[in-house]
Symmetry: C2
Subunit: 334 residues, 2 copies
């Protein structure tokens, strides 16, 4: 059974289950629910979801790798989801990740997966939500969601994380770029990577000024941590400690629970939106239906949208009727 293999920690089955989530195969929700139920005896899951974002070339992957080794030394299992909203590649097709995967190939406590935009609706953010929930259900201690770039999509992906680390460097423009992109608001921690380069002190100082918060009970003071991920763990150990502190802060203030709830609501909303837009694209592609007139100038998109929603309604009623019959779950019988 798929579920047993997942609970045994079989990496291939895990990768297949994430592919099923990415392609939105039915039944993945049930699967995860069952996993949570089966593991309920193992105590409450304590997965920490860490988002890692920053401009290209800031050394996010190297930092992720160093953090992974550090957490492995502490006996935590680490799943890394490398998310590139602009890449059509998935399943470890990114070159850098292949190299990383080989390094950890014999370690069943490390799982690395590239999540690319498949061109399907709902997109990479929704797929990543599902993958994170699956890994949580399986009790992985650390899930590191690493993004490429600092655009709007990356901000969205950060909403998935408990703790967001924004990585910057002393390189020209990077500090300013971070501020420009409005990314400071989402940072729970800053890592100034390549801190051995000239100008690192200035960037650290500027960022500390930027995030200065009152020394009050219940207020998280965003730490700015210089790191040199490439040459080992300089600063990275401190970053790992700060991440544990942020986790403790979230739990103590109740923010952890409300973040989990908000994520769940957002996922439901995105699932509904993806189902509806998928349906709309399918209907619009059907030449028989003629939802839009040939003379596009006379078209009324609102009317067409309403017609599609009515058809969706009719379809849902049919599905509901069908569900009253005992149905066979083909997916899991393999």
């Amino acid at each position: 059974m798929e579920i047993d293999r997942l609970l045994e920690g079989d990496t291939r089955t895990l990768a297949q289950a994430i592919s099923a989530i990415e392609t939105r195969q039915p039944g993945t929700g049930d699967l995860i629910q069952e996993l949570f139920a089966r593991r309920a005896g193992a105590g409450s899951p304590s997965t920490q979801i860490v988002g890692l974002t920053g401009p290209p070339g800031s050394g996010k992957s190297t930092l992720a790798d160093t953090l992974t080794m550090l957490w492995r030394a502490q006996g935590r299992r680490v799943a890394v989801l490398a998310v590139d909203p602009n890449s059509p590649f998935t399943g470890g097709a990114i070159l850098g990740d292949r190299v990383r995967m080989q390094r950890h190939a014999l370690d069943r406590g490390v799982f690395i997966r590239s999540m690319g935009a498949r061109g399907h609706l709902g997109g990479v953010a929704l797929a990543t939500r599902g993958a994170v929930r699956l890994l949580t259900a399986l009790g992985w201690e650390m899930v590191l969601v690493e993004t490429v770039g600092v655009g709007q999509s990356e901000l969205e992906i950060c909403e998935i994380a408990d703790s967001v680390v924004v990585v910057t460097t002393p390189a020209a423009g990077d500090g300013v770029q971070v501020i420009k992109a409005g990314i400071t608001e989402i940072a729970d921690l800053f890592a100034v990577n390549k801190a051995d380069l000239a100008g690192a002190d200035r960037v650290v100082r500027e960022l500390r000024d930027l995030v200065r918060a009152p020394r009050e009970e219940g207020v998280w003071r965003v730490p700015v941590i210089p790191t040199v991920a490439a040459t080992g763990a300089e600063g990275v150990a401190e970053l790992a400690v700060a991440l544990d502190q942020h986790r403790a802060h979230l739990v103590a203030t109740g923010a952890q629970q409300s973040r989990v709830e908000r994520r769940l609501r957002d996922e439901v909303v995105e699932l509904v939106g993806a189902a509806a837009t998928d349906f709309a694209r399918r209907l619009l592609a059907d030449p028989e239906l003629k939802l839009l007139p040939e003379d596009v100038q006379s078209a009324n998109p609102e009317q067409a949208a309403e017609a599609i929603l009515r058809r969706l309604a009719a379809e849902e009623s049919k599905i509901e009727a069908a569900n009253r019959d005992p149905a066979v779950d083909h997916r899991r019988s393999e």
Copy 2:
């Protein structure tokens, strides 16, 4: 009547109609359809939608202003939609636009409007699509969609345009930044603004190398045009000519028609998605419905999404039944 005032060119009514689109009030689709029908005798609409994007500080607004003056001198009416996906402000609240609006305050041939993210679902891209269609129905010759920044949202907004101008400058990093952001693929034209600065020649040369296309029939060769928008029309007249050429190219190759059709389909899909996600958020916020269990770990987002889609179906059936009664259109009777 609203529709008469719109056809008379009343700016205030136009601004109100765009607000109605932004807040997704029902009936805006009918209104635009009616406008198209009323103006059918005036010949086929020939609105050119120009997207203007690039990093902050590249001088997009100044360039937009210079283009506006140039097109006005040619007797074309110009609508500028300044889109900031990250700003909560709308309706001309951006300071720079207020200044611009004053300059053109007495010219009924210029309409300037800030479109901000209102926090409502569907977002600024969908609202901008609607506004563009309204302006097209009213026969505005030029619609300039100007974005702030170069993120994913800006790329989305560019999909609305017939011709996308990517603005860059010789300033450190800007050239590289453009390439990084993957924005070259969406550029129909490049403007290297602030071309009086040192390094402009190099940036122009680099971009020309980057966009080099075969000299073939039916292939658009992306022009790279140095401009100095601040000191007048240096290069801007050339940019305007290139925009007209791009328009002619689109019409000649049939791409114009297929772009209009694709935009229409995309708008319908987004409307369906926005309606569905709005509905989902409303239902999830209702504590009575208990769509998600208090123990979030045992939740099944897929099941919740399906429950919402079924409720949406029930709701749509009710609306359909209600629509069979003769209904009064309150919106337009004011």
